[in-house]
């Protein structure tokens, strides 16, 4: 393996070699855009068809955790960008520090996601036999929120049932899409965390500098892409119907 940034035979200049690596990474990211695009399309069509149920489902997500996670992820994008900057300016120790920061922030994001998933499990919002959109309202249990919040939720479901008698089935569809989309996103984060571990191991040996930083740059592109997916997931899943809540 060549890891020193030397020029390969098929390229004329180092610059051309770098450009090619960036281009290849973007071609891969385009396939990812279309991959996630399919899920966004499925979401849009079903939201269009069952907007009441999707609105009620969306309002059951934890807005504070979602917003906090958005901030964490954007911050991790900043540290990733800084890691790339440190590599291109040959600040070798800074590269490692910024990569570790990025990894920590990525893990914080995944941790918050676990808390959210656990909440959905407790509230019987995991699609399947035990799914019940009105579980919290029926049981009035303290884990679901304050009596005031539950009261709002109850009226919302009551109103929803008038428009859509199959509210439970359709909100289950919302949660299926929620878990599929955030799960796929989380899977990308986990893969990204693995890639970061690889980068940290390399960076700690001082492998990356102004001459050779393609892995940092390309994994950086991947990390930012995952951030962009979340930038769309957050408003679509958490925000759209908040004003009605």
């Amino acid at each position: 393996m060549h890891r020193t940034g030397e020029l390969f035979g098929q390229f004329q200049t180092l610059e051309q070699q770098k450009e090619t690596a960036t281009l290849g990474m973007w071609v891969f990211l385009v396939t990812e855009i279309l991959f996630f695009g399919g899920m966004f399309l499925a979401y849009s069509i079903n939201r269009h068809a069952y907007s009441t149920a999707f609105g009620i489902g969306g309002n059951m997500l934890d807005l504070k955790l979602g917003a906090a996670n958005t901030i964490v992820l954007i911050l991790s994008s900043l540290t990733m960008a800084m890691a790339v900057w440190s590599a291109t300016t040959s600040r070798k120790s800074l590269v490692t520090i910024f990569l570790i920061l990025t990894l920590i922030l990525g893990c914080v994001f995944l941790g918050v996601k676990v808390v959210e998933y656990k909440q959905k499990y407790d509230h019987h919002l995991i699609p399947g036999n035990n799914f019940d959109i009105s579980y919290c309202v029926k049981n009035r249990s303290a884990i679901c929120g304050t009596p005031e919040e539950l009261g709002k939720e109850a009226t919302e479901i009551e109103e929803g049932l008038k428009v859509d008698p199959d509210l439970n089935a359709h909100s289950q569809l919302y949660f299926s899409l929620y878990f599929a989309m955030t799960g796929l996103h989380a899977l990308h984060m986990i893969i990204g965390a693995g890639l970061l571990l690889f980068l940290i191991a390399q960076a700690s040996k001082g492998r990356f500098d102004a001459n050779y930083n393609t892995p940092v740059e390309n994994i950086g592109l991947y990390w930012h892409f995952v951030d962009i997916v979340w930038i769309y997931l957050f408003p679509l899943l958490y925000l759209i119907n908040r004003h009605l809540a």
Partner: protein
């Protein structure tokens, strides 16, 4: 074209504008703009995504060939979303319940 190094100052600036727009989109979501709520949310998200692509991902400074690939990716996404949604949102061919209970003879399934 030599490699462009973006200054940390600009990165931090971009980060703060991303934060501002995150807060803005959360705030906008709590207000009732009717059907515009979804439009506002998506416009802000697209603006944030553009900032990430242009600056964090160096889209602004990359080779023209790379730019073409980036634009093409979103162009194909637009085709997929646009044409499919145009179809779904303009189809009114679904029979209503009354029609279903008494379908015209041409639609009845012969067994």
């Amino acid at each position: 074209m030599t490699e462009h190094i973006v200054s940390p100052k600009l990165y931090v600036g971009i980060f703060f504008s991303l934060m501002v727009f995150t807060l803005l989109t959360v705030f906008a979501a709590t207000r009732d703009f009717g059907r515009w709520n979804i439009v506002i949310a998506l416009v802000i998200a697209t603006f944030k995504a553009s900032l990430v692509i242009l600056f964090f991902m160096h889209g602004k400074y990359s080779a023209r060939r790379t730019k073409l690939v980036i634009v093409a990716g979103f162009f194909w996404l637009a085709i997929m979303l646009g044409l499919t949604l145009a179809d779904y949102s303009t189809r009114h061919a679904e029979p209503s319940r009354t029609q279903l209970s008494n379908p015209p003879s041409s639609l009845q399934i012969r067994s």
